[in-house]
Symmetry: C2
Amino acid sequence: MKLQSNPSKPFDVAYQGAAGAFSEEAALRFIGEQPLLLPCRQFEDVFDSVTAGRALRGVIPIENTLAGSVHDCYDLLRRFELKIAGETVLHVSHNLISLPGARFEEIREVRSHPVALAQCENLFRRHPQLVPIPVYDTAGAVETLMRENTQHVAAIASIRAAVIHGAYVLLSDIQDQMENYTRFLLIKPDDGEAPDGWLSDLKTTVLFKTADRPGALFECLRPFAELGIDLKKLESRPLRDEPFQYLFYADLVGNAAAAPMREALARLKQTAAFVRVLGSYALQSRSSLG
Amino acid sequence: MKLQSNPSKPFDVAYQGAAGAFSEEAALRFIGEQPLLLPCRQFEDVFDSVTAGRALRGVIPIENTLAGSVHDCYDLLRRFELKIAGETVLHVSHNLISLPGARFEEIREVRSHPVALAQCENLFRRHPQLVPIPVYDTAGAVETLMRENTQHVAAIASIRAAVIHGAYVLLSDIQDQMENYTRFLLIKPDDGEAPDGWLSDLKTTVLFKTADRPGALFECLRPFAELGIDLKKLESRPLRDEPFQYLFYADLVGNAAAAPMREALARLKQTAAFVRVLGSYALQSRSSLG
């Protein structure tokens, strides 16, 4: 339901990128039909918008199976007081997109996000006349080339970005590796609501800092190992003010509000220097959109 | 000693970036006086050059205290069969660099590596007329603006890059946070040599994959915790062919060839799905250059 006529009504969901960005696609999967979308320039703007109430929820990429974790988003999860309320996984497909009517032979410059350029290396190897130009986002590269009306420039982005901006798909599925997925998180203010699904349907993300002694990380993982809780991912991020010290983000299977996880978290708090539960949440699969 | 007159003689050290890159500065710290330098376009070229014998050693950045780990280099350490032979830490200082004679008021475009641009956000906030343009490397941005002779363009790079390319430092130390360090590794072919320093002077980096069961990572860390070996860093990287499965890189204090570490590694091999020691090495400090 579009409600642009009412300026006091918050947006349904904020995301980073231009219209047609992969994050927008993830947002549509979380929110369903015709949400009021707030595209943001930077990841930080997404967190800001949700914190300030301009948007009810936000969607951020957290990990790509080829490129790895999205550092900036991990750092923002720590800086802002929002909760993770869901996750979804999108298959990433890259396409060479141009002005309508452009021919492949004319293209000299290919603009996209550096990660997308790196994932299409074979294209540049086979066609050395194409010069890769890094820009801030994939869909934004399509928007720019349409606005600038430059016949010799192409962008690498999703089919959706081409459709939305009225651009032309010169080549589809140009990524080097077809198995390419990005995991997105839904973030929202902490409203005290807790999920009550089956334990194994949910994931809990915990942020912690270890004490500064040998074996400290091992001791932090002990409660989860001893209670049979599966650790799906462990991500470390540097502490800006303490060079070469780290924070850890652990993705664990289970619900923070339910028995073994609650117990494990209580034990973690006794050994870690700092603990914060970022949320318990379910996977939003494609099929649930119906 | 420069030996360019003898083409069969290998380079002393390969690094990524243009002349004046931060990696070059790290290379000089490792190698000492007037090494024969091989600047490479990509990190992969550094690994390639050392593997093929075109360069005796390579230097790569592995971690920045603000931006985090350099994913690509972690992946290349796994793909290539080289050893880590040393590490060093550089203080990173960013500077606004232009053509000689340019005035700050004329500058409209600022080119640099995306990480350097992100580390100078305050500059762009205070001077909205400056448009940040991401390019592949910091020193390369200086080289390009000198070649193109563009008065309204500046680059963000090191003082060294300005000096080498005959450019002008408009503003120095423009990074938002002064505590900004990058850690570099020295890599070389595995010549069977092992360091024999004091245990606590050395670090050992181990690459391993956990078995696929709850508590598997905890079990992999157990030998080190039980033998009192300090884990300085644990980095996870996605496996390209197994979405949402990870490899771990552990930085441990001690020498792989000496008693407690040798024992811990033997125990790790019994529980992990895969283990490879990437090297035991010492920290090269500034003072050792004399």
